[in-house]
Symmetry: D2
Subunit: 136 residues, 4 copies
């Protein structure tokens, strides 16, 4: 299993008039966390797009347990529980606040697509090789 | 069953460099559609907050089938399939483009909370009365 | 002079914990208003991009006089005071609430650029022709 | 003069289909940079709101010189050139990319307001004292 974590400071713009982070903004937090997870493996999502692969999100599932507040320094944990064997990759995320309270749970499914044809493809070989070491 | 629909024109700011609507923005589209569904019943979500009730989202589930593009005039369909009997309310949404293609499916669970105590409560009586007529 | 106006309903996601529309979101409102102004002239900004012209914003000036609130139905007025003669075009915007109170003033400068070379260009002839009738 | 700087990694959600950071998102970057500048002085904007002071933006001026791209690690420089003597405070911002190229210039005017009455007030004494040392 691959695990990774990153921190994000809540911006004022991300709050709403309920005085909490607007629920729609967690998609951004998950995205930042996935990008950092990929960076830790020695590649970037930017590299992947430069190689002609895009990764659209096809499913997003989120449970909101407790609110995140302005200026909170959130920890976003990312897990890749299974090594992708085809066009599909699934990430699990958890958002925790500074007291270690679990605020939000996310599960995101993405596809590897060829940017030109939009046909399904698999992850770049270089990334697959990196990932394999985590699943032995 | 209560059904409602509204239209939303995709803004430039809502696209990303994949040339499609950023997946996180559908949460906003669903929110607009729910607000319009409530308005059709003779109340507004703003009224509800003025009455001391807030409705945080506790679950968001989205499937992205096809991309929405800049300047698309989207139709957002909203369904309330069951009459809420406690603090929980669940909406289903569908996003369609101008050709009638189904782009996105959403399911959102919200709670009715007392804005002061943040304790669970039920929907305002006036809204419940309005809703009942749709479920006979 | 060309004038145009459009309405925008404030979304919950656009508020912040100061209980008003987050100041950064007016850029989106102005963008929607410009798109509608161009549409009224029989072209769309989408068409323009399809023709190979992009219009990046090079200056944005905003004065915030009064706050806009959740669910407000805002009127965004757009003015093109001078017919562009080169790569530069300047729009003026005003945001008013339902009581006709002036909330926000904006001035935006954009350039016409060739999407491939990013070199400065001028507006499409078809649009220029449409516009001329407003400046006689 | 007070100067401060912080870094921000461009998120995918912040790009638009012109393949650059959407111009409206710089307001968020400036806001993050101001929050960090205040934090360096031993207070937070969150503290200030807890003390009953809010700081709405009354003017925002931005010039966009070069685009910021996805995954860029931006440096946001913040300057307070004059010690505020009344309800008004003005910040200058510069956004640079990793090659040190100047991308964007911002000037933002904010007011100190009493959160309850929305009457003009001045900055908290503790912050004023901290700031004075930078202007001797």
């Amino acid at each position: 299993m691959l695990t990774s974590q990153t921190t994000i400071r809540v911006r004022y713009s991300e709050t709403d008039q309920m005085n909490v982070v607007y629920h729609g903004n967690y998609a951004q937090y998950f995205e930042v966390a996935r990008a950092e997870a990929i960076r830790e493996m020695g590649m970037t999502y930017k590299d992947m797009e430069a190689m002609g692969i895009v990764m659209p999100i096809v499913e997003l599932h989120t449970k909101f347990l407790r609110p995140a507040l302005y200026d909170d320094l959130l920890t976003i944990k990312t897990q890749l529980r299974e090594l992708p064997t085809d066009h599909r990759i699934e990430f699990h995320h958890e958002v925790l606040n500074e007291s270690g309270k679990l605020l939000t749970i996310g599960r995101i499914v993405l596809y590897f697509l060829d940017a030109k044809t939009m046909a399904r493809t698999t992850m770049p070989a270089a990334l697959a090789q990196q990932l394999e070491s985590y699943f032995k």
